[in-house]
């Protein structure tokens, strides 16, 4: 069960272009599963920003000196993320979580490739641990536009069989995109599942590669969210159900991870005309 926690910032350090913020979080770590996220309030009741911001949970610790804590990775680029990046030790921070469906884990100890784009890597490290604990081989691919925007290279190296790094500008690893490296990694590792988190375009490309190789992908999407808890219907995208019918599902409670072959990638931001309940005339 998610909780609302009035926490405090334990630490907030700059790492490349990002900030890794540690906050007290009471019982959240106990409830946590890889793939969950938290919704963070931006300021107190004086703030003009009334919507929470969603952040993948990067790490949890339920036995620290501060009791339970969670770590999130912040990419500052707007009013909310800027605010959080500037928080200091002991500042108040209000979190709701853990939220969202966790990643589905394979029943058998099959090889898995984890693909993270930029801060999208954040939820993959606890996932890697869980997979490893099940005996899965884990190979990592981290990509970003440039070196500063890569996240978690050292850690990925530590917990994976292989780590492949790509940057668009070649400042670190191979020049290119994660999907340029993906087929090779799939081949070498004999992957059965691909997990991916990052920009929507990357997820689409990863899902396509997985489909082409006939293997399962789980993509953790990032849709604009107002509530994060499933009550507002802002965070929807077209997902094909087991019955073959496309529905507008909430990424906050039905996701954020969806099977890559179930997302209508080319129709994200639209209502496909065959969607359950779509307007008859096709207007929006």
């Amino acid at each position: 069960m998610p909780i609302v926690h009035k926490g405090t910032v334990v630490d907030n350090k700059k790492v490349g272009n990002y900030f890794v913020l540690t906050a007290t979080a009471a019982d959240m770590p106990k409830e946590f599963k890889p793939g969950n996220f938290v919704a963070v309030a931006i300021g107190d009741e004086r703030s003009s920003l009334i919507l929470r911001r969603a952040f993948s949970i990067y790490q949890v610790n339920d036995r620290g000196v501060y009791g339970g804590t969670v770590d999130i990775v912040i990419s500052p680029h707007g009013p909310g993320t800027d605010y959080l990046a500037n928080l200091k030790r002991n500042d108040a921070i209000n979190l709701v979580g853990p939220l969202g469906k966790p990643f589905s884990l394979p029943k058998d100890p099959v090889p898995c490739v984890l693909v993270g784009g930029g801060y999208g890597a954040a939820p993959l490290f606890t996932l890697a641990e869980a997979l490893t604990a099940r005996g899965c081989r884990v190979d990592f691919i981290l990509g970003a536009s440039t070196q500063e925007k890569l996240f978690g290279m050292l850690e990925a190296r530590r917990i994976s069989t292989t780590l492949t790094v790509t940057t668009d500008d070649g400042t670190s690893g191979q020049m290119g995109q994660v999907t340029d490296a993906l087929p090779e990694v799939i081949k070498k590792s004999n992957a059965a599942v691909i997990y991916a988190c990052g920009p929507m375009k990357m997820l689409e490309a990863v899902a396509n590669v997985a489909n082409m190789h006939g293997i399962v992908s789980q993509t953790s999407v990032e849709e604009s969210m107002a509530c994060g808890i499933g009550v507002c219907m802002t965070c929807v995208l077209p997902i094909i159900g087991d019955d073959g019918i496309t529905r507008m599902l909430r990424s906050c409670v039905d996701g954020p991870a969806f099977k890559g072959d179930k997302v209508r990638w080319d129709q994200v931001g639209k209502i496909p005309s065959d969607t359950w309940g779509a307007p008859v005339e096709g207007v929006n």
């Binding site: 069960m1 998610p2 909780i3 609302v4 309030a41 009741e45 003009s48 920003l49 009334i50 919507l51 929470r52 709701v96 849709e223 604009s224 107002a226 509530c227 994060g228 808890i229 499933g230 009550v231 507002c232 219907m233 802002t234 965070c235 929807v236 995208l237 529905r247 507008m248 409670v253 994200v268 931001g269 639209k270 209502i271 969607t275 359950w276 309940g277 779509a278 307007p279 207007v283 929006n284």
Partner: protein, 317 residues
């Protein structure tokens, strides 16, 4: 631990149309889905009532994304009434609410006058529905037509039709839009047509433009403005309607964030309040607001909520 209202010595129960509710704080339609998700945070059976997301006759996909934009002390939404349709709603959502012992006010909407009636008819004799809120004011309907709530005749037609399709004892609340020249005119018209009470207010029509693309941020271009930003408009609407209709039950809403905010609505004339957008910020808000109101009353040395209702109308008390 799900939050429940604190027990106090203050009588927080209310009379609302033909209803008696233990708490004056309800959810707002579209801001609590059908209660299930919120029940992780609060015990949904302990709040005044769950007002469900407006449901229509058929399943509905809603609008394309982006469906929302944050605004100063508020937000703009253009969900487009995504929902499962009334049959599925009754079968799943209402069944869940009943099993939980929640008090449910079902919000209904329609593309035309007839549809409202059909949806209402489906709710006839369904157990657990304590009231119906008729959303005649959603500005987001994809149908280009004028909003029902902006025309006294269209608004009355809808209420009339719904009234004919429900039992006489079923409390009907008409939900009004603030986007009109004279909200008391619409209020009078729907009351005459058979509404037992009024829900005041729905969102204000607004627009946010993305300064990167220079295009409207929402896929539907305009959307509904909600949240604390609109509170002064909502309080004014409640006040005007209470003045024009001294006895009509009113569910007040629009930007309620705290117990103090709710007290403004009660003083202006609301008999109950709905908490909408604030739930996105604080999933426990409905219970917290209840507790804060009780505390304020206690601090004032009052014994019941009833004592402050209409207090801002010196002529009424």
């Amino acid at each position: 631990m799900k939050r429940v209202p604190k027990r106090t010595s203050v009588d927080m129960s209310i009379e609302l149309a033909k209803l008696r509710l233990e708490s004056p704080v309800l959810t707002a339609s579209g801001c609590a889905a059908a209660g299930k998700e919120l029940d992780q945070f609060i015990d949904i059976s302990t709040i005044g009532a769950v007002v469900t997301k407006s449901v229509m006759l058929e399943p509905r996909s809603g609008r394309a994304t982006p469906r929302m934009a944050e605004t100063p002390s508020g937000m703009l939404n253009g969900i487009g009434l995504q929902g499962p349709g009334i049959d599925d709603f009754i079968e799943k959502d209402l069944a869940w609410l009943n099993q939980k012992g929640a008090k449910t006010i079902v919000s209904i909407a329609g593309n035309n006058v007839e549809e409202f009636g059909k949806v209402a008819d489906k709710l006839r004799d369904i157990p657990g529905v304590i009231g119906i809120e008729v959303n005649i004011s959603c500005p987001n309907v994809e149908n280009r037509g004028q909003v029902f709530a902006c025309d006294p005749y269209a608004a009355a037609d809808v209420i009339n039709n719904v009234r004919r399709n429900v039992s006489a004892s079923m409390p009907l609340f008409a939900k009004l839009s603030p986007d009109v020249t004279d909200i008391t005119e619409i209020a009078k018209s729907v009351v005459k047509a058979g509404a037992d009470g009024l829900s005041v207010i729905n969102t204000l029509l607004g627009m946010v433009i993305d300064t990167d693309t220079l295009l409207p941020r929402l896929s539907g271009k305009t959307g509904g403005l909600s949240g604390p930003a609109i509170r002064p408009v909502a309080v004014r609407c409640v006040y005007q309607i209470r003045k024009a209709l001294p006895n009509i039950p009113i569910i007040g809403m629009g930007g309620i964030r705290s117990g103090r905010d709710a007290v403004e609505f009660f003083a202006a004339g609301a008999n109950a309040v709905s908490v909408g957008t604030t739930v996105f910020n604080d999933p426990e808000a409905c219970v917290r607001v209840h507790d804060e109101v009780a505390q304020i009353l206690q601090d004032k040395g009052l014994r019941s909520l009833a004592e402050i209702i209409n207090a801002a109308h010196e002529e009424l008390i």
